[in-house]
Subunit: 238 residues, 2 copies
């Protein structure tokens, strides 16, 4: 574990360790369930998006890329059970990933590829993704982009060039390339059979990306305990 | 500096170090300025909220507590120039604070007060705030709460008991106590003359809190260079 596991109680009830925190986590999920259906694994991700953004309407902005709506969730949870690395774009997202319920390493891309960024003028996060990809880090990984559209675009290029993450979670926020980078992720993910969880529109961000990734961890925990089946047949069991 | 300064390019153009990043930062602020007025220091904070959330309507959810709308921004920027500590609730928010443009220490509350949390059952973030407050950390500090409503409520209790932060930035997100904790922060801040920047509603989060704090740093940088005056008379110069 490279992540600081001390501050995720708003992201997964796995993280609630005190009496008050557990009560808050339970009440919070109760309120979300009044606002979002809770029938399928996809509903869990939609519910988490509402929880992370505080906005009931956000459930309608989530998109699943895969043969079925639940494929990216099952693929993500299986990658968690297989202890595949979780690779985030920036430190903020890494710090939002729960330290419990999994034995995956959690690492950030930023900090790699400095030379490439300097030579080309590309953003440091985009250069970081390309550098880690060269090292094979993204194959079968849980690839999470919460902040930088250019990192998501770089990841899409890598997928086009043959890289195969287990799942992509991409929710960059903002006015420049944010919606566009997610459209491109969905296009290459569809074309190359890579499961992906994204949103439409300009909203999103690090907290959302961390929250959705934590829900994959949560689904994996439930699968480990037998309350969720990750096979295609049992995909929609909750 | 205790913060990782490597990943803040989406939060302040101070952070754009490559050609592409600088172009994105400029285009991004141009788009925000088409959507938000850019006349006063308060407009800058409103614009930053739009930038951080990707939502033009978020500008209308920001609230300023002080004798004037710009007082909390001037107080925050002065605290940055005075190199007062920036104290965040959780690690994610700390990691979102820019490493440039200031010489403030940036620290997180979480990780303190473990014994208190265990004894009382209160959340770890609330216990952390109470513990740091006992050490006098919050007086004259830039107190930032991006995630945990209970941390904001604890901070409000501290203000009621005599603690005087230079400014409070509070934007917890969610369905349990998030809107309520900010209402309470505004009430105690008004009563005790503590400047505060908050939002209304259930939305918010770590990225927003980091973004607004980074804008205080940015205003301080502009004041240092003479393009902004922090005195009351010049409060609305941009």
């Amino acid at each position: 574990m490279t992540t600081d596991s001390s501050d995720f109680e708003e992201y997964a009830d796995l993280g609630a360790t005190t009496e008050d925190a557990m009560e808050i986590a339970e009440t919070s999920m109760d309120r979300v369930r009044e606002l979002v259906p809770n029938e399928t694994l996809a509903d869990r991700i939609r519910g988490k998006s509402v929880h992370a953004t505080g906005d009931p309407e956000f459930q309608h902005l989530i998109r699943f890329t895969g043969r079925t709506e639940t494929e990216p969730i099952r693929a993500g949870a299986r990658a968690v059970l297989d202890e595949r690395p979780i690779v985030t774009d920036i430190t903020m997202v890494r710090e939002g990933i729960t330290g419990r319920g999994h034995d995956c390493t959690v690492r950030k891309a930023i900090g790699n590829g400095a030379e490439l960024a300097e030579q080309t003028g590309m953003t440091r996060t985009a250069a970081s993704v390309l550098e880690l990809d060269k090292q094979g880090v993204y194959d079968d990984a849980i690839a999470v982009v919460g902040n930088a559209p250019t990192a998501a675009l770089a990841l899409a290029d890598c997928i086009e060039d043959g890289t195969r993450p287990a799942v992509v979670v991409a929710t960059p926020v903002g006015f420049v390339k944010a919606a566009e980078c997610r459209t491109r992720v969905r296009a290459v993910a569809t074309e190359h059979g890579v499961p992906a969880i994204t949103n439409v529109g300009r909203r999103g961000g690090s907290g959302l990306a961390a929250g959705l990734t934590n829900e994959l961890v949560h689904v994996a925990s439930d699968a480990r305990e037998g309350s969720v089946t990750l096979s295609v047949e049992g995909a929609d069991a909750t």
